[in-house]
């Protein structure tokens, strides 16, 4: 409520409504990753069966100054549901936004605030029931290197020292449509190399490391 109000106060009188559209893609290098389609990677191959992740607390900056805060607390991006791969922000044309900041995952405050609605409703299966906390990112699938193996990465954790949420800062030029690419190569290479921790299902140092690898790969492209 208050967020929406702030937003309106900020923008409506100053400019007209416009939109910023961010399309989210999972990539393996230059290749687009889709569910159930094999991806080649340095002589190995992998295939995703499920890919879901939270992006939250979007903020829009100009010259380092906060210009607007998105009224939606969090988005659940699900590779299986096309509509979730496109985020539409009512940011204004010509408003000079040059930087987007957001969280990859869910922060500690939100994690400890009780039952939430929308994308944060625990019925979406992105919440650990046996030990409170959101799963920031779920990646499940198989790889062949050379034998076929399954992996299940449920990356979460909000409490020190295993907080998995990652802060992302990205410069943008003044276009209305941009692509947010998350490159899986570094993570998958790490997973296939180590082979030991293919099923990460709880908060811990491995989950944090994997989340950092993903976060580092995030890029914004016009």
């Amino acid at each position: 409520m208050i967020r929406t109000a702030t937003y309106l106060v900020f923008f409506l009188p100053l400019f007209g409504w416009g939109q910023l559209i961010v399309e989210i893609n999972l990539k393996a290098g230059n290749e687009l990753v889709e569910l159930n389609e094999p991806v080649r990677l340095n002589g190995y191959s992998f295939q995703l069966e499920q890919a879901r992740l939270y992006l939250s607390k979007f903020e829009f900056y100009q010259n380092g100054h906060l210009k607007a805060t998105d009224s939606t607390l969090a988005y659940l991006v699900d590779l299986e549901i096309d509509s979730t791969r496109k985020l539409i922000f009512p940011v204004v044309q010509g408003s000079g936004i040059d930087e987007i900041r957001f969280l990859f995952g869910i922060d500690s405050l939100t994690n400890t605030s009780g039952a939430m609605n929308g994308a944060l409703d625990p019925m979406h299966g992105m919440y650990w029931s046996w030990q409170s906390g959101y799963i920031n990112c779920k990646l499940e699938g198989t790889f062949t290197a050379p034998e076929r193996e399954t992996f299940q990465l449920h990356l979460g954790g909000y409490a020190h020292p295993f907080s998995g949420v990652q802060r992302i800062l990205l410069k943008t030029d003044k276009t209305n449509v941009c692509r947010l690419d998350i490159d899986l190569n570094a993570l998958m290479e790490r997973v296939i190399r180590t082979k030991s921790e293919l099923h990460v299902m709880s908060p811990g140092s491995r989950a944090v490391e994997y989340a950092q690898l993903l976060a580092k790969s995030i890029e914004l492209k016009p």
């Binding site: 994690n111 605030s113 039952a115 609605n117 019925m123 919440y127 029931s129 409170s132 295993f162």
Partner: protein, 339 residues
């Protein structure tokens, strides 16, 4: 003029609804402020009733055999009577004793090891636990949506039939928040009600309690909500490390949440694994059976020296924490009248 009327009406409505919340939930005098943020989930009687119906409905388990109340019975301050380790669906046995459900509005964390960080999220744990209810939240919501009764109850509570996880969880929280126990003999004596007084034994017991027990079982909640190792020898089969499971810190090994002692007379068996059947056994533990380990609470290092008289007096005091108003409260029991 119209505007003024509207404002008056609004003010009136707000006062009425405020009053209503007051009646559903009242902070006992001199108690600390609750931890639960009521602003995010304001109590209202329709939602409390929905929560109550859900609490007693076995539809929450995969084979419709187990409800929350199966392990949390109102006649025993909402613990599982006579079971050391609670039983779930198909008689699968859990690894811990079900705690009493009282004064949860003051709870900072839930479960013996604090695994759950907010009351709203508590119901998810048994619901999705394989040995308890073995369900999933979306599937339970689907089952509820098929019932006319629940469509009506959701409509009454949320002015919409839409059943979301958030609404489901908040309704159960609302019912649990109403479970306030603050009318035991102990409370009445402290309030100076109708000249009610402790007996000689209870008075001596209270003094012993303040000396030896209150550092952890702190009044008025009878818990300081910290995690402590109170010297129970670890069970070699269950291998329960307690708080360490959550924090990963060896300094938290064998520590469990200090439980409230309100209604303790009615909530046997005792401790996280239900190892003691009686209060006599609990006091035997504290006086002569403390298991020493690195994380043992310092005040228990040498055990608590208690004579047989001391033990009798302490037990007499602990029994003054039995709250019959709470235990017999019809509003907390199976909702017979809601069809």
């Amino acid at each position: 003029m119209k505007r003024l009327e509207l404002i008056c009406l609004m003010v009136l409505l707000i006062t009425i609804s405020f009053r209503y919340t007051e009646k559903l939930w009242k902070k006992p005098l001199d108690w600390p402020e609750p931890v639960y943020n009521f602003k995010k989930n304001p109590l209202d009687s329709a939602t409390v009733q929905l929560g109550r119906v859900l609490f007693y409905d076995p539809v929450l388990s995969s084979d419709s055999s187990i409800s929350c109340a199966s392990c949390h019975s109102p006649y025993n301050a909402f613990t599982h009577v006579d079971h050391a380790l609670s039983h779930g669906i198909k008689d699968r046995i859990g690894t811990r004793n079900s705690p009493v459900l009282v004064n949860l509005a003051w709870g900072k964390s839930f479960m013996w090891d604090g695994a759950v960080n907010h009351l709203d999220m508590q119901a998810l744990a048994p619901l999705e636990n394989h040995v308890e209810m073995d369900e999933t939240l979306p599937h339970v919501l689907q089952k509820l949506a098929k019932q006319e009764k629940y469509r009506r109850l959701f409509e009454a509570a949320f002015h919409s039939e839409t059943m979301t996880g958030e609404r489901f969880l908040k309704a159960i929280s609302q019912f649990m928040l109403t479970l306030v126990s603050s009318d035991s003999k102990y409370d009445r004596v402290l309030r100076g009600e109708n000249g009610i007084q402790f007996t000689e034994m209870e008075r001596k017991g209270y003094a012993l309690f303040k000396e030896h027990c209150a550092s952890c079982h702190t009044e008025p909640l009878f818990t300081n909500q910290t995690f402590q190792n109170n010297g129970l020898a670890p069970d070699s089969i269950l291998q329960d490390v307690g708080r360490m499971k959550i924090t990963g810190k060896s300094s938290d090994s064998l520590k469990f949440k200090v439980p409230t002692l309100r209604n303790i007379e009615r909530s046997a068996p005792y401790m996280h694994d239900g190892r003691y059947r009686s209060l006599q056994m609990v006091l035997f533990h504290y006086s002569t059976d403390i298991h020493s380990s690195a994380t043992l609470a310092p005040q228990l290092r040498n055990g608590i020296r208690l004579s047989e008289d001391d033990k009798r007096n302490l037990i007499a005091f602990l029994k003054t924490l039995t709250d019959n108003t709470f235990l017999n409260n019809k509003q907390f029991q199976y909702p017979r009248t809601i069809k």
